[in-house]
């Protein structure tokens, strides 16, 4: 059984990596929970809130399932005294009221003109092209896990600050500079 022996030897000779257990969860649920968590890692200029207790507003475009999960996650939740709110958007709604904006795969980036948004909005998407078009954070699927990619160029142009903890967990890119 030469092929069997070869397989055995191959398997033994290879080195080592930690183990990861766990059950699979739907992608949109994980992304919604990540968005829910993001709020704690971002600081917005005070001027973006009417009062110290006015709500932190989420907006979700082009991702219905994520919208629904996020709605459940944030209901009744507060961050530093601010209640969390998920806006129900329609075609005509302005995105200027949002603090965290998620643009799903079904959103039309051109129409939304990511670049033209108010600089205080944290823009989150789920594709590489989202970053190329000036989005700040992309939640990408990498080997079955969600992995954040942060666009430092877009972040520099905004009035937002991200905590170093989040920056450590993410891949940082500067699509503007040609390396």
């Amino acid at each position: 059984m030469s092929w069997f022996a070869a397989g055995l030897i191959c398997t033994v000779l290879l080195a080592h990596v930690p183990v990861s257990p766990g059950r699979d969860l739907p992608e949109h649920q994980i992304k919604a929970a990540v968005l829910f968590n993001f709020a704690a890692f971002v600081s917005w200029p005070e001027s973006l809130f009417e009062t110290p207790l006015s709500p932190l507003r989420y907006c979700v475009v082009g991702a219905d399932a994520l919208h629904e999960t996020l709605n459940h996650l944030i209901s009744g939740e507060r961050l530093e005294g601010r209640p969390m709110e998920l806006l129900n958007l329609d075609e005509e709604s302005s995105l200027d009221a949002c603090h965290i904006l998620f643009l799903g795969g079904a959103a039309d980036y051109d129409k939304l003109a990511v670049m033209g948004l108010k600089p205080g909005i944290l823009t989150v998407g789920d594709s590489e092209s989202f970053i190329e078009q000036g989005g700040m954070i992309a939640l990408l699927r990498k080997r079955k896990r969600i992995h954040p990619v942060i666009n430092l160029d877009a972040l520099d142009q905004s009035r937002l600050r991200l905590s170093s903890k989040l920056l450590h967990l993410a891949t940082l890119v500067r699509p503007g500079s040609n390396e």
Binding site: V17, G22, D24, V34, H72
Partner: protein, 669 residues
């Protein structure tokens, strides 16, 4: 007369059970009002809320392939064997794992052969159950059954085994008549690291290795190798038999994210084994051996189109070789499968697809063997398409599922297999489902082309056979009244037509007695299956499975068959399994399984009670040492026989299942 009585009382019983269910349900509703609903939903999401961002980024996410479905949403009798169930069962092969499923009949014929079926019709050549591993069909078109001695993988790499009792022909195609078993292995992304497993005991020895790792950002692979040897069991007389078994296999799986929406899976296995058996011919007992080898290669591309839409394209190649005392078979199978699912107007979830399956064999007739095939080579082709719509009504509380498969095969031409299902969510914690479906079993290569010459009987296959037909009526209830208690109840009534029989041709007074296969039997089966989970505490969980089964088969007027009605009535009337999973300490597990299987009166096999124990000690998080005892209540007992005591014994000799002990060490690195 007696039969009529039991038939009548059986029908009454069934009616009574349906009524009881309804009464039970209405009571349930008044006792547990809708409050349970919200608790349940927020419970799931608060789990998610409790995770830190680091933890969230480590949770594997389901990549959309086939329509993702929650267990509680299935309008079918579904049971899922989880990774945890597999690990804590102490089982060393797939058939042993299946014993925990209510409504499956699992009986060992000898140390390397099993009779496995769902909802009756059990035997070594059970032919109404579809078994798949990662989308690859495991049953052989030779007799529409499964050679269980070559179906294996590293059990630690199995993600789950989904078992559906009842027809699944609309989605899965012909031969998914009484049930479907889907063995699903873990994605290579989820098995990072190495695993060494060594086990040894008085009945078996096993060695297995796995190594998995990531390649770059987007790809992962794994390799495994496994070999085992099983000892000889003993005949019913107590003497040592010749059913020893050795098997070696290697395999791999690679998963690659081609883009954010495309992923590719490539996997394959190679195996080689020898399994022994004893046969009796003209009162002479002889020891024989089956030599099996084969391999397969599968590739699957999935594209996610939206959160509720996706495509899947799959191709596989499979080759099996088997030579034993009756035949030498070489088979090559190609299969191409496409599926597309999407939603329309937030109300319709549609799935459609097509399949092309081609299988070619070369069967060499062994000298002096009773079986011959004509032609010796045959290519058979099946192509099919299906469509199914899941319609959400009343704010998602009621789902109506309608669909059909249209299939063309070389033996019987076009077959249509429709089903209609409904699931009604009475509350978030309780749902009720019902289904009516039609399924067929198309004739196998054996049914069509065989000649069996076992003096004084000569049996001819029949290329003109029609498909065996089933119309199944099913109903079930699933409820989780508390976090710590869940109940899953299923009842069914199966109406069979055109079941296969052996019909006399010529006169019965001259020898040989010549018989030809025909479709002259009908009948019905009914029963009830219950699965319940009770978490006594976080550290001590109980799992119960019970099945009650009745079968009545009758040959049509004009039929000369006197054996088939008894031949297929070989399933126990009652089966019970009770498992207890206990964490004695954070590093110590004690698991107990108790099985009761009722007598098989047509085979003179008496009822038995068996007990398995597993004590596992996690020396470190990476190292597990376990002590496993199986069939502890008696020295040995028989589970199945090919013939009843009075019949002339000719052919395979069954053996008994013996008490066994096993020590197993697992090391992850």
């Amino acid at each position: 007369m007696i039969r009529t009585d039991s038939e009548l009382s059986g029908t009454l019983l069934l009616n009574r059970s349906v009524w009881l269910t309804l009464v039970f349900l209405s009571l349930w509703q008044s006792i547990f009002p809708l409050m349970a609903e919200e608790q349940n939903l927020t419970a799931d999401l608060s789990d998610l809320k409790g995770l830190s961002i680091q933890e969230l980024l480590e949770v594997p996410v389901t990549s959309v392939s086939r329509r993702p479905q929650r267990y509680s949403d299935a309008a079918a009798a579904l049971f899922v064997i989880s990774q945890d169930d597999i690990r804590r069962s102490g089982a060393s092969n797939i058939p042993e794992l299946l014993r925990m499923v209510p409504g499956l009949q699992v009986a060992r014929i000898d140390a390397n052969k099993w009779a496995i079926s769902a909802r009756g019709f059990n035997g070594r050549y059970s032919n109404k159950l579809l078994v798949q591993q990662d989308g690859r069909t495991l049953y052989t078109p030779l007799y529409s059954g499964v050679y269980w001695d070559v179906q294996d993988t590293l059990l630690d790499d199995i993600d789950r085994i989904e078992v559906i009792r009842g027809p699944g022909a609309t989605m899965w195609g012909a031969n998914a008549v009484n049930g479907i078993i889907n063995i699903i292995t873990r994605s290579a992304h989820d098995t990072a690291g190495g695993l060494v497993k060594l086990a040894g005991g008085n009945e078996e020895a096993l060695a297995a290795l796995r190594y998995a790792n990531a390649v770059g950002d987007a790809a992962s692979f794994r390799l495994y190798a496994k070999a085992f040897e099983r000892d000889r069991a003993s005949y019913f007389s107590g003497e040592t038999a010749a059913d020893d078994w050795r098997d070696r296999r290697i395999g791999f799986r690679a998963d690659v994210d081609l883009s954010q929406s495309d992923s590719l899976t490539l996997q394959g296995d190679l195996y080689d084994g020898e399994s022994g058996a004893s046969i009796i011919e003209a009162r002479v007992l002889s020891e024989v051996e089956s030599n099996t080898s084969g391999g397969n290669l599968l590739t699957r591309w999935t594209r996610r189109l939206a959160s509720d839409a996706g495509l899947e394209l799959q191709f596989y190649y499979d080759r099996t070789r088997r030579s034993n005392w009756t035949l030498k078979e070489d088979r090559i199978t190609y299969d191409l499968d496409f599926q597309h699912h999407f939603s329309v107007a937030n109300q319709h979830s549609l799935v459609w697809g097509f399949n092309y399956h081609r299988t070619g064999d070369d069967i060499a007739n062994m000298p002096d063997a009773p079986l011959t095939f004509d032609p010796v080579q045959r290519d058979a082709m099946t192509y099919s398409a299906f469509i199914q719509d899941d319609i959400a009504l009343f704010d998602n509380d009621l789902h109506l599922i309608i669909g059909s498969k249209f299939e063309y095969n070389d033996y019987t031409g076009w077959e249509m297999q429709p089903n209609i299902r409904a699931i009604w969510n009475l509350s978030k914690a309780t749902s009720l489902w019902a289904a009516i479906s039609r399924a067929v079993r198309t004739p196998s290569r054996l049914d069509s082309d065989v000649t069996i010459s076992e003096w004084p009987v000569l049996i001819y296959g029949n290329p003109e056979l029609s498909s065996e037909r089933l119309i199944a009526y099913e109903m079930g209830l699933r409820s989780q009244p508390h976090d710590y208690l869940s109940v899953d109840l299923a009842t069914f009534y199966n109406d069979y037509e055109r079941l296969q029989t052996f019909e006399m041709s010529g006169t019965s007074y001259s020898l040989p007695i010549v018989q030809t296969l025909d479709n002259k039997m009908s009948g019905h089966a009914y029963g009830l299956e219950l699965a319940a989970n009770w978490d006594f505490s976080e550290d001590w969980r109980f799992k119960l499975a019970y099945a009650w089964f009745e079968l009545d088969l009758d040959t049509e007027t004009g039929s000369t068959d006197t054996v088939s009605a008894d031949l297929w009535d070989r399933a126990p009337q009652h089966q019970l399994s009770l498992r207890s999973l206990m964490d004695l300490r954070h590093d110590l597990e004690l698991d107990t399984s108790l099985f009761y299987v009722d007598e098989l009166s047509n085979l003179d096999i008496s009822s038995y009670l068996s007990l398995n124990l597993r004590l596992a000690w996690h020396l470190t998080p990476e190292m597990e040492l376990s002590f496993i005892g199986k069939n502890l209540l008696d020295d040995k007992h028989p589970e199945f026989a090919e013939f009843s005591g009075s019949a002339a014994r000719q052919g395979l000799v069954s053996t008994q299942v013996e008490r066994s002990f096993l020590v197993q060490a697992k090391w992850r690195y």
